[in-house]
């Protein structure tokens, strides 16, 4: 068993490096005696020893999660708070597995399942009420177990019926750990979020075309408790703050023109009011300029240079995906279906196991490393840094994922996938809309290249590539600084004859393309870090959702990609005239 302790304020705790320190007996007692951990552990023990339905196997693994959440939210327009609230809640989840590490009820879809009717979902007490917590897990364990036991029985029957060898274990064995971060849960000062959103939104009174712009600020903090039947017990706090400024141009119908987004783990560490107001000013100038530009309507196939945040978007779009070329591990579930489907599943899995080793997915100069403990890069705080994942697995300080363009490994949890039989510690806590769950997600990723060059040299490269393609111009694209992902985009057309650069209003770029990482022909020798809140495989988190997984990515400032197909598909936004004048117009 590993023992791990952090008593430093948790922001600093994120910078703590392994190896683990020995817990003092007092702290060991402290975690084991914590009412939430104790309630979970006692109920796990009771269920593991006594829970069994006639005709079915006992559970072999039980894990419980409890998360205390503090959510503060404020939305303002024109200097007035429209909506403000602060809530506290406690969410929970339970995992009950029947079988063993090699074969269990998971990774199996029982499509012919007969449903059992059990008592329903119950809310967890928000106080550290020992019996109240046990009561909820008692019912949950009962219900999950009954379903799992039936699935397991069916799965074993299927395997026996089709005489199939089970190729990949269902659940990895990991060393139990005690981890206790004693920091208290962070919450911004009362009214702090209201004051900031109110003051920032008042700025739009100075911009009559942007009067309908909204400012949203929120902080979501959690203290996560986890206990499992293998002996892992941990208490992990986390926090995430965001300020989103939705710029809406148009008198009436609120056409969204762009979004400024800021993230930090502490609300008070977000940029100062004056900085944000300066960014708004800059953004409004950019949007106004963009609107005055001609639209780039051509279909183009040739070299493209991406600059600024667009580079981060490009790598996220192509790396943070599941599937054969992505960094997020995933596993096809065995389905209780026809014999043909069943056999196909195992044929595909066998093929995947044979083929998935060191597959070339990018140019030979490209490397990708996961650096989970890196908390700062050239003065930028990296919000993706973390110590331990949601299953109590401590990631390695450095994990090479792509080496010389070949895929070495993927981010994984305790469900083994082709070529990765153990967790590498990336089943991360995921906070969204008042709930905490877990998802496979990176913390800090660094994308680097063994051959890089200056920005000026990249411009020359772009020109040469375009000439080779017998084009009259080359393109480079960048997102407006500080905007959210993918919009709006300025396209710059570089004339090869005279070298003039013409800015144009471009369509959002479709950056996720098959084999596009193999088409990188040049990268800058300067790097920049970006923070964002990621919503798992669903992509970046939009305005309607609050939370996700904080991640950071370090990428070159510019890349040149050859053979990029650009298609203009801009959807016209038509602003309707108002019938009567508004109060500000008068």
């Amino acid at each position: 068993m590993k023992i791990f302790i952090s008593t430093i304020f948790f922001l600093s705790a994120l910078t703590i490096q392994s190896p683990a320190q020995e817990l003092s007996p007092a702290l060991k007692d402290s975690i084991e005696g914590h009412p939430v951990i104790k309630a979970m552990s006692d109920e796990i023990e009771r269920n593991l020893s006594s829970l069994q339905e006639d005709g079915y196997s006992k559970p072999f693994f039980i894990g419980y999660d409890v998360s205390d959440l503090k959510f503060s939210y404020s939305m303002s327009m024109l200097g007035a708070v429209i909506n403000s609230n602060s809530t506290e809640s406690r969410s929970w989840s339970a995992r009950v597995i029947v079988g063993d590490y090699k074969i269990n009820d998971e990774n199996f879809e029982n499509s012919f399942k007969s449903y059992t009717f059990d008592p329903g979902y119950a809310n967890l007490p928000i106080e550290n009420d020992y019996w109240g917590i046990r009561r909820v897990f008692w019912i949950a364990t009962n219900n999950i177990y009954k379903s799992a036991a039936r699935n397991y029985k069916q799965k074993i029957q299927n395997l026996e019926e089709y005489n199939q060898e089970y190729l990949l274990p269902d659940f990895s064995k990991e060393e139990p750990i005690l981890y206790y971060d004693t920091s208290s849960i962070y919450q911004p000062k009362k009214d702090e979020i209201d004051i900031l959103t109110r003051n920032i939104s008042a700025e739009f009174k100075n911009y009559p075309e942007f009067l309908n712009s909204a400012v949203i600020g929120y902080n979501v903090s959690a203290k996560n408790y986890f206990s499992n039947s293998e002996g892992t017990k941990m208490i992990v706090p986390m926090s995430m703050s965001s300020l989103m400024i939705q710029l809406s141009k148009g008198v009436e119908n609120m056409m969204q023109s762009g979004t400024l987004v800021y993230h930090h783990d502490l609300f008070e560490k977000l940029p100062k009011e004056e900085t944000i107001k300066g960014d708004i000013q800059k953004m409004i100038v950019n949007i106004s300029e963009l609107d005055s530009l001609d639209e780039y309507k051509e279909d183009y196939s040739g070299p493209l240079m991406l600059k600024g945040q667009a580079v981060a978007e490009f790598f996220i779009a192509n790396l943070l995906v599941s599937g054969e070329n992505g960094l997020i591990a995933s596993r096809e579930r065995m389905v209780n279906s026809t014999k043909q489907d069943f056999e196909k599943h195992f044929r595909d899995l066998k093929k995947e196991l044979e083929e998935n080793k060191e597959k070339k997915i990018a140019v030979s100069s490209m490397q990708v490393e996961a650096l989970p403990f890196l908390s700062e890069y050239e003065g930028t705080r990296l919000i993706g840094a973390f110590d331990i994942d949601g299953e109590g697995v401590v990631p390695d300080e450095q994990l090479t994922m792509i080496k010389d363009g070949a895929l070495e490994t993927k981010l994984n949890d305790r469900v083994p996938t082709a070529g990765i039989e153990n967790s590498n510690g990336y089943n991360r806590f995921y906070m969204i809309n008042g709930q905490v769950s877990k998802t496979i997600s990176p913390g800090v990723l660094k994308v680097s290249f063994s051959n890089s060059t200056s920005l000026d040299s990249l411009e020359i490269l772009l020109k040469n590539e375009a000439k080779e393609d017998e084009l009259t111009h080359g393109l480079y694209a960048e997102s407006l600084e500080l905007t959210s992902m993918s919009k709006p985009i300025i396209i710059f057309r570089k004339n090869l004859e005279n070298g003039n650069v013409e800015p144009l209003n471009g369509s959002p770029l479709r950056l996720n393309r098959k084999n596009i990482l193999k088409k990188i022909v040049g990268v800058s020798n300067t790097y920049r870090a970006y923070n964002l809140v990621w919503s798992g495989n669903a992509g970046s988190v939009g305005m309607g959702s609050f939370g996700g997984v904080p991640i950071s990515i370090i990428v070159p400032e510019a890349v040149v990609i050859k053979d990029f197909d650009y298609t203009s598909y801009k959807v016209e936004q038509i602003e309707e005239e108002s019938i009567i004048k508004g109060p500000f117009q008068q």
């Binding site: 006692d42 109920e43 009771r46 269920n47 006594s50 829970l51 069994q52 339905e53 303002s76 327009m77 024109l78 200097g79 007035a80 708070v81 429209i82 909506n83 403000s84 609230n85 809530t87 506290e88 809640s89 059992t116 009717f117 059990d118 008592p119 119950a122 809310n123 967890l124 007490p125 928000i126 106080e127 009420d129 019996w131 109240g132 917590i133 046990r134 009561r135 008692w138 019912i139 009962n142 177990y145 009954k146 109110r198 009174k205 009067l211 309908n212 009436e252 119908n253 309707e576 108002s578 019938i579 009567i580 004048k581 508004g582 109060p583 500000f584 008068q586």
Partner: protein, 563 residues
């Protein structure tokens, strides 16, 4: 965690001059004046405009099996605007057939409004909403003008002219209460449910909603009213051996927290609820039945709300898709001669019970009125909003809606009266006599109810369903009354009215929230017990839920301690 909240005392003071001190009303008035002036210069200007703003302050405490589940509060402000194009006789709301949807819907525009009284931000959001609302309303109006049916429709007016009202209640005066104390009270109540291993849900909850409601119209009406509602509920269910969840609940409604029962009373009521749950668990499932029955006052209240109240809501009688049960029955006998029914939103209390259907002005700014709907069995009137009927050309102050919805005629405090009452014993004797006559072994006594629903349209059976929670068989041969379960009461309205034969001398109040096309509104039904010659029941849906494999950890611990 939210630890201390303020609760508002019940102070409704009629004090007209306070408008000048109410900043929000001033902002609304300025913007309405400005918008009406702006609209006046365009063709097809609205002839009527209204703003409604609801300022909400809500507190919730939820407990379950002795544990605090949540304790929080929030504030929000909702704007609902409406405007009408045309004139009082023919406007955009006129019913039009011949396009998708059949019935011309009312226009409504609703948005969250700043919770702070910032004039420019509020005005900007109202303008955006009303300007967009105008465009949608104009399209409706054009459709009305193009529809052939308009001239043939019998109703001559789309919107009634009403007296202009100016009324304001003083802001609610806050009184501080100890949230901790209430959390403790609720936890102590819900912890009582822990001692029975078959109880599946055992909750005690408190909700306090303080709403300050603003109404302003272009006709000049300005109303500010307070709607404080306090609800304490005790909700529990037990699992029967055959896998059915059997729920019971107790609900206390008041306009101030001081009017809730003392803790000792709440504890006694919760213990009684547990006793009934245990009885229910051991009771038999009733078979479908047709025969005599007695309704307790609470059941009668829900019965009248569903099968009578919804059918006298005036706007339905203008809707061709509605069953219009009573449209042509004015001055006809619809109930037994000994029965009368009134709707009285001006009544605050019945005995000690506060009536949550009380208000001074409705949500169209019309003064609330006591309306006699049925006098000695004869139908006299309908519940009217500003949508008139041919023979009922004025509102009687029953246009109601929650924030975000356009008002329609709705119920308030429905009071069922009988001028010939009988004792409970006499009702039982009547029941037994009727059972013998019908050759029935037993009749039913419906003692309590969770609610009901009814359908009034023409596309589905014009029926009702009342969902009782406590039902007894009353045996003709003198056996003790037997509690049964799994029964729903069903039927059709006109048949049921003709089966009412007598009313009891005990009258009680049922309070609840009624959901319909203009949202959920608080209502009450005050009624005596009733004897009906024939009712029909059907079986409730069964769930087949299984008892958990292990007993609850706390129950197991306590049992081991005993040994």
């Amino acid at each position: 965690m939210f630890r201390q909240f303020t609760l508002v005392g019940f102070l409704l003071i009629i004090s007209l001059p306070v408008f000048s001190q109410d900043k929000l009303m001033s902002i609304l008035a300025e913007e309405m004046k400005r918008e009406m002036q702006e609209f006046s210069s365009i063709e097809r200007a609205p002839y009527y405009m209204e703003y409604r703003v609801s300022d909400f302050e809500t507190y919730n405490i939820n407990t379950s099996f002795g544990s605090l589940i949540s304790s929080d509060s929030y504030t929000n402000r909702v704007f609902t605007g409406d405007l009408r194009i045309g004139d009082y006789e023919l406007d955009n709301t006129h019913e039009v057939f011949g396009f998708s949807g059949g019935y011309q819907s009312y226009s409504s525009s609703s948005v969250p409004l700043p919770v702070e009284n910032d004039p420019m931000a509020i005005k900007q959001m109202i303008w955006l909403t009303m300007d967009q609302g105008y465009k949608a309303t104009l399209e409706q109006y054009k459709m009305v003008l193009n529809a052939e049916e308009v001239k043939e429709n019998e109703e001559k007016i789309d919107f009634t002219k009403e007296e202009i009202s100016v009324y304001s209640e003083a802001p609610l005066i806050a009184e501080s209460i100890d949230t901790k104390e209430w959390e403790g009270v609720l936890k102590r109540i819900s912890s009582l449910f822990k001692d029975n291993e078959f109880i599946m849900d055992g909750d005690a909850n408190l909700q306090v909603s303080l709403e300050r409601r603003y109404f302003i119209s272009s006709e000049g009406t300005r109303i500010i009213q307070n709607f404080p509602i306090v609800n304490l509920s005790i909700v529990a269910s037990i699992l029967s051996d055959d896998g059915n969840i059997l729920p019971l609940y107790i609900s206390y409604d008041a306009r101030t927290i001081k009017n809730l029962p003392e803790e000792t009373q709440l504890i006694d009521d919760a213990k009684e609820l547990i006793r009934k749950l245990e009885q229910l668990r051991n009771s038999q499932v009733a078979e479908p039945y047709s025969g005599p029955a007695i309704f307790s006052p609470r059941v009668s209240g829900v019965f009248f709300h569903e099968i009578f109240g919804h059918r006298v809501e005036g706007h339905r009688l203008k809707d061709e898709s509605d069953g219009q049960t009573f449209k042509n029955k004015v001055n006809s006998q619809v109930l037994p001669k000994f029965m009368s029914v009134i709707s009285d939103p001006t009544r605050r209390k019945f005995g000690d019970a506060e009536l949550t259907g009380y208000y001074e002005y409705d949500d169209q700014g019309v003064k609330a009125q006591k309306v006699t709907l049925v006098e000695n069995g004869i139908l006299e009137n309908f519940l009217m909003s500003r949508t008139p009927l041919l023979t009922f050309e004025k509102s009687n102050g029953h246009g109601r809606a929650t924030a975000g919805y356009i008002p329609v005629s709705r119920q308030s405090n429905l009071i069922v009266q009988s001028d010939k009452v009988k004792s409970e014993d006499a009702l039982r004797k009547m029941l037994m006599k009727e059972c013998k006559k019908q050759n029935k072994e037993f009749g039913y006594y419906f003692k309590d109810v969770t609610g009901g629903f009814t359908t009034t349209d023409r596309y589905s059976p014009n029926a009702f369903n009342i969902m009782p929670t406590e039902v007894y068989k009353i045996y003709v041969d003198g056996r003790p009354d037997e509690l049964v379960r799994g029964v729903d009461m069903i039927g059709t309205p006109l048949t049921m009215f003709s089966e009412i034969k007598a009313a009891g001398d005990v009258v009680e109040v049922f309070s609840g929230h009624c959901g319909a096309e203009s949202g959920f509104i608080p209502v009450t039904a005050v009624a005596p017990s009733l004897f009906v010659k024939k009712i029909e029941t059907q079986k409730k849906m069964e769930t087949h839920i299984k008892q958990p494999l292990l007993v609850s950890p706390e129950f197991e611990f306590k049992e081991s301690e005993k040994q």
